[in-house]
């Protein structure tokens, strides 16, 4: 459908999306979680009437505001990038994909934007109660907006609720509920929000530990840690549980992604998990190279995680590339052939339509329908293209999971320290606390790397590879805007970090 496909342009467009999304994702998880933490703090203030809690609330809110502004700045571009850099995608699936974005605007953004002003400037203008409601509305609004954008993302990972319309050469929505309630959407939303709650809790813990180390604002720090460690622990357990659910969904709908992030080249029954390892970067599909140059394996665990049964079969990369008749797997190699048939049939349909040849249209359509599920593969030229970058996926996934496990224990330690009233004396814990926010940022970014790098080469799983989703632009144009964004966002990030650290250095007002 796209005639002269330019791989360099596609790479720059991908780089640009990765860049803008990753910058955006530095700030968003903090917004998602800190908004709720502010709501908790303010609720305690309203319940107790204790002015210290109000000061504490306003302190965290100030940091929230600084972070929020840059989240908005980096976010607007993402919505429009679908149109600017991926216009063929926008046309082909706009009928489905546009809806969640519009809904996000209507139901979530305005909630955030409207009540944000009350939360910051309304302390003396509205009643205590209304102010509290506003703070909750900001938290709900920002998480609702996450819901809709994640529904959209989940649909790209596991397209449902639609059909292809050959006349318009696009996909059209058939069932909006199937799109919204897709199991992938649910696991994505729960995992993303809970991990963001965790990240924000760790932010609060980090800043508070810094105060403890400096022996400043001790009371504020201890109180903040108590709330954040509680919320953080719940969120951390939820993160692990929903992450497990996400892996189960990936195994079902994106087996290649699972094989890549587990480094599983040969499918097996009772597949094990590589708890730690170094994947061999030279390994290619079908060769006999070693998969790992070093590995620690836990037998059987992958089958349990992916299929909920210790003896179940989990397909590997090679099975998915070359097929495995024994387990009923049609490989990418074969699907490319079938996909090409679908593409040819579509072109014939278009030609027949132009010539007003109804019989020709019907036969072409019948052929197309027979092969449509392989459509996207028809655009690939080599089955190896169906394999995402294995090492990046593997490392990202393992870093995320290892850190996730660590955070659970860390939150337990902080909660225990807080309950025993010993936080002030535990210097090692305080030091660990200060660094933990950065680890959380890494885990969270790694999560998106797993989800997005792991789904290459697809924009929409099995239907539309990135090379066809693109706009008709030259590589230089996209490269130019890439560097414009890189420069601007880096500048804004540096400004944000300095403002943030200055405010943290100042601490809460009138202390």
């Amino acid at each position: 459908m796209i005639d002269h496909f330019d791989p360099v342009m596609v790479d720059w467009a991908r780089a640009q999306f990765a860049l803008t999304a990753m910058y955006h994702w530095i700030f968003v998880p903090l917004t998602l979680g800190l908004s709720f933490l502010c709501a908790f703090f303010e609720t305690i203030y309203v319940r107790t009437g204790n002015e210290d809690w109000k000061r504490l609330t306003r302190f965290w809110m100030k940091l929230f505001g600084i972070n929020f502004a840059i989240g908005v700045a980096t976010g607007i571009i993402l919505e429009f990038e679908f149109g600017t850099n991926w216009s063929n995608y926008s046309w082909m699936v706009g009928d489905i994909f546009g809806a969640p974005l519009a809904i996000e605007g209507i139901v979530a953004f305005f909630l955030e934007a409207t009540f944000f002003a009350v939360m910051f400037f309304g302390w003396d203008r509205v009643s205590k109660r209304f102010h509290l409601v506003s703070t909750w509305m900001v938290a709900i609004g920002s998480n609702l907006s996450a819901l809709w954008i994640l529904v959209a993302n989940a649909w790209m990972q596991h397209p449902t609720g639609m059909k292809f319309n050959p006349d318009a050469a696009r996909f059209e929505m058939q069932n909006v509920m199937e799109v919204i309630l897709s199991p992938v959407a649910i696991s994505k939303f729960t995992h993303t929000t809970s991990s963001s709650f965790l990240l924000a809790s760790l932010f609060v813990i980090s800043v508070s530990c810094w105060y403890l180390l400096k022996k400043r604002h001790i009371l504020l720090a201890k109180r903040s840690i108590t709330v954040a460690a509680t919320f953080g622990l719940i969120a951390a357990i939820f993160t692990a549980a929903t992450g497990d659910e996400a892996a189960f969904a990936v195994a079902k709908h994106q087996p290649m992604k699972l094989a890549a992030f587990e480094g599983l080249w040969h499918g097996e029954k009772g597949a094990g998990i590589v708890a730690a390892g170094i994947p061999n970067p030279d390994k290619k599909p079908g060769d006999s190279e070693q998969a790992f140059s070093f590995e620690v394996r836990i037998p059987g665990l992958l089958s349990i995680l992916a299929k909920r049964s210790a003896s179940a079969y989990v397909p590997g990369i090679n099975d998915l590339v070359f097929g495995n008749p024994e387990h009923g797997i049609v490989g990418a190699e074969q699907r490319i052939e079938l996909g090409k048939k679908a593409i040819t049939a579509l072109a014939e349909y278009k030609k027949a339509q132009k010539n007003k040849d109804t019989a020709g249209m019907e036969t072409a359509l019948a052929t197309f329908d027979q092969y449509r599920e392989h459509l996207g593969y028809g655009y690939l030229s080599d089955p190896a293209e169906a394999v995402p970058p294995v090492a990046i996926s593997f490392y990202s996934f393992h870093i995320m999971v290892i850190l996730g496990t660590f955070f659970i224990f860390l939150c337990i330690a902080f909660l225990a320290g807080a309950l025993k009233g010993k936080l002030e004396n535990l210097t090692v814990l305080q030091l660990a606390g200060v660094t933990t926010f950065f680890l959380a940022l890494i885990a969270s970014q790694a999560g998106w790397v797993v989800a997005e790098v792991g789904r290459q080469p697809w924009t929409i799983q099995d239907l539309l590879p990135v090379s066809v989703a693109r706009s008709n632009l030259t590589a230089d144009t996209v490269k130019t805007t890439f560097f414009m964004f890189l420069g601007l966002f880096t500048l804004l990030l540096l400004a944000e970090i300095r403002i943030m650290t200055t405010q943290i250095g100042k601490g809460p007002e009138e202390d």
Partner: protein, 379 residues
């Protein structure tokens, strides 16, 4: 009930809804207008802070409305989204840039450690209010003057100008519309500030703010007259009802206005309201100018956008290939999606209601000089 509406009705409905959002955005550009007025109307730091803080309580509303305008067009007319954003690449990129730099400026301008200094953030705000609005105006202008694209069988866009959209800014009609919108935003900005600030003890400041509205409307007037005159007489893009082919028709937009008296009434009524708001502001003590000029702006914007899309008119015409032009019929989403979205759109009145309620609660007391000096959260 909605599911029974036929596709054409839904397409008209969604063009109306998108137009309403777009027109509300034009009203809310009082924020951008206010940003460009900063240097002229505020002489002292306190005055500046008052202006920034007053606008700062509203900027997100404008921003969000713009994002929703984009989202609604994506959902309802995805072919427009794909064609215009992927095609007129540079004009949209520049517009987006001006909004990115706006989004941080309120929060960061006065914060210690902000790296660039207050002046640069104020410059960001100025660029957003001037260049950003100018280009948005030019982009809307292309709804009437046409763009340079060709679509193939699979609806892939080929843009035939290497300026990728920026060429819109070299057309006198488009630029006039853009310049008018800049002055108009400034007019609204000063009306809003008149309404929102407490000028007790600052008569000079009040005078500067109040005069702003009249001066800027007068500056914008020639451009508006040019745009309206051209609209009445220029050749326009039209759809042949029987064949669906697009052709050029002399006086098309005038014909549209004559064929849709309600739209003409909106245009006339809207302009009268805007002028009345400005006159009221300049020649009386009233603060209510914005409540005339704001709705007036919405009506005028609505009239323009409906003229562009209704009555068998392609709303995003192509100069390069007439038959590639986008109409509300060929660019829209499917019947199913439009109906599903219509259900969602039913919550819009609730959204408008809580926005209005919060606006009322927050602006009951006008913003005083003390508010920006004493409050720790002020911008």
């Amino acid at each position: 009930m909605i599911g029974n509406l036929d596709t054409a009705t839904l397409q008209h409905l969604w063009w109306l809804l998108c137009s309403v959002v777009g027109s509300l955005f034009l009203f809310l550009t009082f924020v951008q207008g206010g940003q460009t007025l900063l240097w002229q109307i505020a002489k002292t730091d306190i005055e500046k802070d008052m202006v920034i803080n007053s606008l700062g309580r509203k900027w997100e509303l404008t921003f969000t409305t713009l994002v929703l305008f984009g989202g609604a067009l994506f959902a309802a007319f995805p072919k427009f989204y794909a064609t215009s954003f992927g095609g007129a690449y540079w004009v949209w990129m520049v517009i987006l840039f001006t909004f990115i730099i706006q989004a941080v400026s309120y929060e960061y301008r006065k914060k210690p450690g902000n790296l660039l200094g207050a002046r640069i953030y104020e410059l960001f705000l100025f660029i957003n209010g001037s260049l950003g609005i100018l280009l948005i105006g030019a982009a809307i202008g292309t709804f009437f003057t046409g763009s340079n694209f060709v679509l193939n069988d699979y609806n892939l866009v080929k843009w035939t100008s290497s300026l990728r959209g920026l060429e819109a800014a070299f057309n006198f009609f488009n630029v006039s519309l853009g310049i008018f919108l800049v002055f108009h935003a400034r007019t609204l900005g000063s009306l809003y500030l008149t309404n929102n600030l407490d000028f007790t003890g600052m008569p000079d400041f009040e005078k500067r703010v109040r005069t702003g509205a009249l001066v800027n409307l007068l500056c914008g007037l020639p451009f508006l007259l040019y745009v309206l005159g051209m609209l009445a007489f220029m050749k326009g893009y039209a759809i042949d009802q029987d064949t669906g082919r697009v052709f050029m028709e002399s006086g098309k937009y005038l014909h549209n206005l004559l064929a849709m008296p309600a739209v003409s009434a909106m245009l006339a009524g809207g302009l009268v309201l805007v002028i009345a708001g400005v006159v009221l502001n300049a020649f009386s003590r009233s603060r209510a100018g914005i409540w005339l000029a704001g709705p007036g702006t919405v009506l005028t914007g609505l009239a323009l956008l409906l003229t562009a899309g209704y009555n068998n008119t392609p709303f995003y015409p192509s100069k390069a290939d007439l038959q590639s032009s986008l109409t509300i019929f060929n660019a829209s989403s499917s019947h199913y999606t439009l109906s599903a979205m219509t259900y969602v759109a039913m919550v819009i009145p609730i959204v408008l209601a809580y926005i209005a309620w919060v606006w009322y609660l927050m602006d009951r007391g006008k913003l005083k000089a003390e508010d920006v000096t004493a409050q720790e959260d002020s911008y």
